[in-house]
């Protein structure tokens, strides 16, 4: 009796395996694994990228080249360990065709080797870590967002040419902060500026009063304060600096666009007026393509799209265009890479493409000033466009 029962059990199991089959095979569905945070500090960013991404998928009707798009969503908590486990699961168990994410530079650095080993394409939708398209580049890693160098180098150049020759930088003391301040410094000195004074508040600094007092002490000597701070510290700094009465026509405040855009305007309020920003996207970009995109986005989500939304949207667009061009056949990895880096995307941010040499995006960088728009809301006035800025990706050997 026991032998019979065991036989039946084993047979049933074997049959169920046969029926399920290796689900990983080159099936019809296009599988995308999201590597984004949906809880805690970075949740707003993860949600924003997903919202942009979803809009693009929806516009495509949920399918491309005859393949249905299946999106795997899980919370990576923007934690390197969790992200590593998720990447392993996505590449070994779920056999995804693309991974989209992550937000933070330290997370993308942690998963780089695993992604490279697994030969799965990672579409970096935010993390600005220079090295991921520099000395740690990989044929399987492509970035649609920006590099820390790219967004800030142009600001340095613009500042030295238009604002003044003396600057002070206030930058969060961690790798991203150092890369961004370094990029500003490089562009600034290139165009004749003096080496900037530097303040390096620790991550998590809540009260900038002592640093602001330092800035006040140097008021006569500097023309501008450039700042990059992470997360909630960004609006806080701008508010505190403005409350202290340090800013003025002789002392301009500036930074990358994510210091003062639609995401943080509610937190800064009118103190944001007059801040100069540099970035690859601003909601106020007055092009037919962006206006149409904003209209569609606002219809679906009832809010203005900011740079994170566009990053998610564009990542999906690039992915869809690639799959379309290859008629759904992603089996030849070299061909996928060639296609990914050969497409020029008409994005709400303007045209962009992926540099085949490094995998980083080549795009316009805009210099904008925060102003009050005709409808009373805060927005940006574009002062200058640096066309198709390319990050040279030092050290990248593919």
């Amino acid at each position: 009796m026991k032998v019979l029962k065991n036989t039946v059990l084993v047979t049933a199991m074997a049959m169920s395996f046969a029926v399920c089959g290796p689900a990983s095979a080159q099936g019809k569905d296009l599988k995308v694994g999201l590597l984004l945070p949906f809880s805690q500090v970075f949740a707003v960013y993860g949600e924003a990228i997903k919202e942009g991404f979803d809009l693009a998928i929806e516009e495509a009707g949920g399918q491309v080249a005859g393949r249905k798009i299946v999106v795997f969503k899980e919370d990576n908590k923007e934690d390197p360990k969790v992200s590593l486990q998720m990447v392993r699961r996505y590449t070994k168990d779920d056999n995804v065709d693309f991974i989209v994410g992550p937000i933070a530079s330290h997370v993308v650095a942690a998963i780089r080797d695993e992604v490279h080993r697994s030969k799965t394409f990672l579409l970096v939708a935010n993390a600005g870590n220079n090295e991921i398209t520099g000395k740690n580049c990989s044929p399987y890693i492509v970035r649609t967002s920006f590099s820390n160098w790219q967004v800030n180098h142009s600001m340095g150049q613009y500042a030295a040419e238009n604002i003044g020759k003396s600057a002070l930088t206030v930058s969060a003391n961690y790798d991203s902060g150092r890369e961004q301040a370094g990029a500003f410094r490089q562009g600034f000195i290139e165009k004749g500026g003096k080496a900037p004074l530097e303040e390096w508040p620790a991550l998590g600094t809540a009260d900038f009063a002592p640093i602001i007092t330092n800035i006040r002490a140097k008021q006569g000597d500097i023309d501008m304060v450039w700042s990059f701070l992470a997360g909630s510290a960004a609006p806080r700094f701008i508010t505190q600096v403005t409350q202290a009465g340090v800013r003025g026509p002789k002392l301009k405040l500036m930074g990358p666009v994510y210091m003062a855009d639609e995401l943080f305007f509610p937190a800064i309020g009118e103190a944001a007026l007059g801040v100069l920003v540099s970035g690859h996207y601003m909601a106020s970009l007055d092009t037919p393509r962006n206006r149409a995109f904003q209209a569609r986005f606002q219809k679906k989500y009832n809010k203005v799209a900011h740079v994170m939304h566009v990053q998610g949207y564009d990542t999906a667009k690039l992915m869809l265009a690639t799959v379309e061009a290859l008629k759904g056949d992603l089996s030849d990895k070299a061909k996928v890479r060639k296609t990914l880096t050969g497409i020029q995307v008409d994005s709400p941010r303007g045209y962009f493409r992926i540099d085949p040499r490094t995998g980083n995006v080549v795009q316009n960088i805009y210099i904008g000033e925060v102003i009050k728009r005709a409808d009373g809301a805060l927005g940006h006035k574009i002062l200058k466009t640096y066309e198709q800025v390319t990050d040279k990706g030092e050290g990248c050997v593919l």
Binding site: D207, P210, P235, Q243, L263, A267
Partner: protein, 287 residues
Amino acid sequence: MQIIIEQLLNALQMGVLLFLISSGLSLIFGLMHVVNLAHGALYMVGAYFGITIAQGLGNLYLAVLLAPLLTAVVGVLVERTLLSRTYGRGMYPQVLLTLGLVFCFDELVRIVWGAPIQTLTLPSGLAESVTLAGVSLPIYRIFVVGVGVLVIAVLLLAFGRSRLGAMVRAGVDDREMAEALGINVRRLFGGVFAVGAALAGLAGVLAVPIFNAYPGMGSEILISALVVVVVGGMGSLAGALIASLLIGAATVVGQVFAAEFSTAVIYLILVAVLLIRPQGIMGSVAR
């Protein structure tokens, strides 16, 4: 010279703000020996109540008055229904419960008010800076210090000099004896908890124009508040005040000379105090 004066004033206002943030915890932790990690959550709730009131009624001052009261109500509810069940059971149930409350409140706030960072616009009277004797100060910071000094005076008087304060201190020192003398210690402690919650809420709403409001803001100040209470000595409001001013000054020094380590300064002080005088600056040696 002016810069030094300005930095000293920075230290003062940071210390007072820190005291405001920690006073509620010092009261509850120190007097009732209740580990109220939900203190951070109450601080956050006060901040968000403040935002809603200020935006709804268009008046910041009303928000500063009412938000603490609403927070006290929330605090009392939490204490009566949940926390009081853990009295006398030791530290761990209290830690677990209040920590769980922190997570719950974070999500509740996210659901009700949304995740993005929010702030309060200051009325024009408070929004600028004023220059006194060559030193420039934001008016709002002066306002906060003023409120802080008021709170300090009221607390020290109430707990140090009044009969009510004497009863509370008696209840802390020897609960059975106090009850034998006819003092309703349970109700008294409930009142202390309400005051502690109100203080947390007051600190929360005052902090919004400076630090902004976002889910998770409570957890960030909780550690600082805990350090202040330990460094100052459990059960001593005066100790909490001294500790706050000390930490405020040290943080300013840290930011000026070694900004990379400025957030570590508070822990260096904690370690130093624990090594030299573990009961805290004004704490009494454990019985």
